[in-house]
């Protein structure tokens, strides 16, 4: 289980996270929704140890990671897979080399075993035969799928998806969502997905948390969130314009 308690973070005078609390159950898919600039990506970076909080704690199976450094933090990260917003594929390597990279560098297994696992990982995301191509030679949707294959090839216990469908057309959005759901059913990892995709994201979520102005304002199963009486949640889900921004 991932437990977040009283997380606070400011950049200069701007408070991004304000006493954020959340629990992510083991083996579940938890989706964080919220408006752009609401602190979702900053929150995710705290969970993967890229940003340190000003106050508060992040516990992964009871281990506080907020003050861990070096090998201790790497030990936690070895349990992680992360799908970055832009894919973060190494552009000097082919797709197959990208997927093979964590296997080759972290697990030190024989080359033929790596090749088999890379082929299997690419097949799982529906990308047989594209291994030799460079990331620049494939479409945005394919790049996201290669990034998912790379994140899952080491069979992590916890997978973070940072807006995995941003910039994709509705068909590809559904394809990626169903891919996440399908892979989750197969590998039973704990998934935390940051997303804007309303209402499609409700189809794959076990729990949805709404992050607004640095706080979780509502958390619950998708049905409860969709029926929420909270004005902020309703406004976000229905895509109603925010008159407070003075347009």
């Amino acid at each position: 289980m991932i437990k977040v308690e009283g997380l606070r973070k400011s950049f200069g005078r701007q408070a991004v996270l304000r006493d954020l609390d959340l629990e992510v159950a083991t083996g579940s898919i938890t989706v964080i929704i919220g408006r752009s600039g609401g602190g979702k990506s900053v929150f995710l970076k705290h969970l993967i140890g890229l940003v340190r909080p000003d106050a508060g704690r992040v516990l992964v199976d009871g281990v506080e990671i907020t003050h861990l450094t070096g090998r201790a933090l790497d030990g936690i990260r070895r349990r992680y897979g992360v799908v970055f917003q832009g894919g973060a594929l190494f552009d000097s390597m082919s797709c197959a080399e990208n997927v093979a990279f964590p296997l080759r560098e972290k697990l030190r297994i024989p080359a033929d075993e790596i090749a088999k696992r890379v082929d299997a990982a690419l097949a799982q995301v529906g990308l047989e035969g594209v291994g030799a191509k460079l990331p620049a030679e494939i479409s945005g949707g394919m790049r996201k799928r290669v990034a998912i294959a790379r994140a899952l090839v080491t069979e992590p216990e916890i997978v973070f998806f940072d807006e995995p469908t941003t910039g994709l057309d509705p068909v590809l959005v559904n394809t990626i969502h169903h891919l996440i759901l399908d892979l989750h059913r197969r590998f039973r990892f704990t998934a935390l997905v940051v997303s804007h995709e309303i209402p499609e994201i409700f189809e794959i979520a076990d729990t949805v948390a709404m992050l607004h102005e640095g706080r979780i304002v509502e958390v619950g199963p998708p049905g409860a969130i969709q029926a929420s009486a909270n004005r902020i949640v309703r406004q976000f889900i229905r895509g109603e314009p925010d008159n407070s921004e003075g347009h």
Binding site: I48, L50, R77, Y80, F84, G86, A88, F90, E105
Partner: protein, 264 residues
């Protein structure tokens, strides 16, 4: 305690203090970056493939510009030094004058400046783009140290390639001086090379060697640091690249003076 606005008379002091803290903070991060790189260099596993790739990137791809600038530097030296020496009837010393200028001073400095312009800027831009596209974050969350993959091989490759590039620059420059002094201006080949052997010592060659080694470290350190700490977006990469080239070039000239004062 809440921040209260300072009295107007104190604001200049606040600005100076803030700037001083910022500079000291930057220097501290610059220093700790180098220490982290050294730790990554001396602790296994060593990334041989990345190291060879960096030698190609910094050294091999800079060959053409080194050969071209080396040849023309030697030719300019040959012409100008000949025209000066001939006034004193000392044109026989053209060979040693060209060789000593190149080996002790111009070779290490100009080769380093050329490699900075070609490879240093590209190094900063490449690492900077990796930073803004989250490729460095991807390495970090894979529990792999980006210093080991990106910085350590670059600094090691700088250590190896800068002296080699300098040696090439010197040799091509000496032949450039030969082309002008001997082939165009009529000095005898025996005089050009014979006097060179008399006047150029091993300590002159070692002076140039140590300079080039130190420039290799300085340039790769500055350029990787700037790439690692790039700002946001394309503008951030452009600014970091410019800063890397300017700072490296200034440090090469400043460091050259100190090395010249220390070395025999």
């Amino acid at each position: 305690m809440a921040d209260r606005p300072l009295a107007p008379a104190l604001r200049p002091f606040e600005a100076v203090g803030g700037r001083t803290i910022s500079v000291v903070d930057s220097l501290g991060r610059f220093g700790t970056f180098f220490v982290d790189a050294l730790v990554a260099i001396v602790t296994p596993p060593f990334k041989l493939r990345a190291f060879i790739d960096r030698i190609n990137y910094i050294g091999f791809r800079s060959l053409l510009i080194i050969l071209l600038t080396g040849a023309f530097t030697g030719m300019v030296l040959g012409l100008q030094v000949y025209l000066t020496l001939v006034r004193f009837g000392s044109e026989a010393f053209l060979g040693p004058a060209v060789a000593l200028s190149l080996i002790r001073e111009l070779g290490p400095v100009l080769a380093a400046l050329m490699v900075t312009g070609r490879a240093g800027s590209a190094l900063t831009a490449e690492i900077g783009i990796m930073r803004i596209t989250e490729q460095i974050d991807a390495l970090t969350v894979m529990a792999l140290n980006p210093m080991r993959y990106l910085v350590a091989p670059s600094i090691l490759a700088g250590l190896v390639t800068f002296p080699l590039m300098t040696a090439l620059f010197d040799v091509v420059g000496i032949f450039g001086g030969y082309l002008v002094g001997v082939e165009l201006l009529g000095l005898s080949p025996g005089t050009y090379f014979g006097e060179m052997q008399t006047f150029v010592d091993m300590k002159d060659i070692m002076t140039g060697f140590w300079k080039s080694v130190s420039f290799g470290v300085v340039v790769t350190w500055v350029c990787t640091y700037k790439g690692f700490n790039v700002g946001h977006g394309a503008e951030g990469v452009a600014r970091a690249t410019t800063q890397a080239v300017v700072l490296s070039s200034v440090l090469i000239l400043v460091w050259d003076y100190f090395m010249g004062s220390i070395l025999p």
